[in-house]
Subunit: 206 residues, 2 copies
Amino acid sequence: MSAAGTGPRYQAPARGRPRSEAAERAIIEGVMRLLEDGVPLAELSIERVARTAGVGKATIYRRWSGKEELFVDVIRAAEPPDPDLPGTSVRDDLVVLLESLRLRGLAGRSPALLHNVHAQMKSSPGLWAAYHDTVILPRRRLGLEVLRRGRENGELRADVDLELLNDIVVGPLLVRTVLNPDADLPDDLAERVVDTLLEGLRPAGG
Amino acid sequence: MSAAGTGPRYQAPARGRPRSEAAERAIIEGVMRLLEDGVPLAELSIERVARTAGVGKATIYRRWSGKEELFVDVIRAAEPPDPDLPGTSVRDDLVVLLESLRLRGLAGRSPALLHNVHAQMKSSPGLWAAYHDTVILPRRRLGLEVLRRGRENGELRADVDLELLNDIVVGPLLVRTVLNPDADLPDDLAERVVDTLLEGLRPAGG
């Protein structure tokens, strides 16, 4: 029982207003549907979202202060959760991390949601900053953590800074998923990238 | 003396309509000025461009079939030319290529032109395709050529495909210039990336 059931003051209206979580889901799915239909971000008013989700505007404003805040939650809902790392070696952890980027790239293609929205988001500094802080930064921290462990273990060289190592590791996958969304994403891509990076581009014994 | 001076048939009108190249430059600079002022691509009409450049709409349509075609030339004009490669080794060529990406990243920051426009361009499939074909693809071909030579020379391992090698090499720079335009772009970045990639991420002798 939620607070709504603790006394008559909080009783739901007789006609059955959807509970908060259901309404929230309907709103987020409403925005996704509009975006998938190709509605540009600029035309996505709270009024239109409310109509699509079948809720009142007040229901939206109770949860989000405005369009940008709502939109960040939509993006977060569309992102898969960060993967569990096996922790067996830096190589294994990096393969899992890059595989999750690959799968995210594949998933982002069919609804064309992420590609289009990503582009629109970059035109809005506030939205981009929010997306960066809630989606990109935590994922980046996870990668840096794996690399830091690898350096401490001696699995990775100690003379390259972690930020650069991270950009080297994620770069090829981001090129293929974000910058060039028609690129090939074969099943063994994560392993090939990680093994090539670990061994280096010079021929063995060269 | 250009063709305009070779005979009376080509003489400029008495009031001095700007010659074709001068008009073209004025038009392209007009679009850049509007974009730098933050005018969104969608609001950038041929009429507005004509007014800003001080030319008639017909002058624009004589050279470009429409807004998208004009816009691709603007983007191309804003891009530095591809660098001359020393050809002394794959390492040296790759350093020069990545250094040009680094400089392009630095240059693209002050006018905020490329960042903003890049984002808007990705929302327009036609524009993006044109940009891809005229700017990205030739640069990519140059990188692939260097890598192909390196594989044939034995400077690079032969067991990684060229497309993947290319994404591995340019990935870190693109992450720092396109995806994360606030990232650090230190003077020695190109060299550090190339040397780290050539030697690999494992500790020497590991």
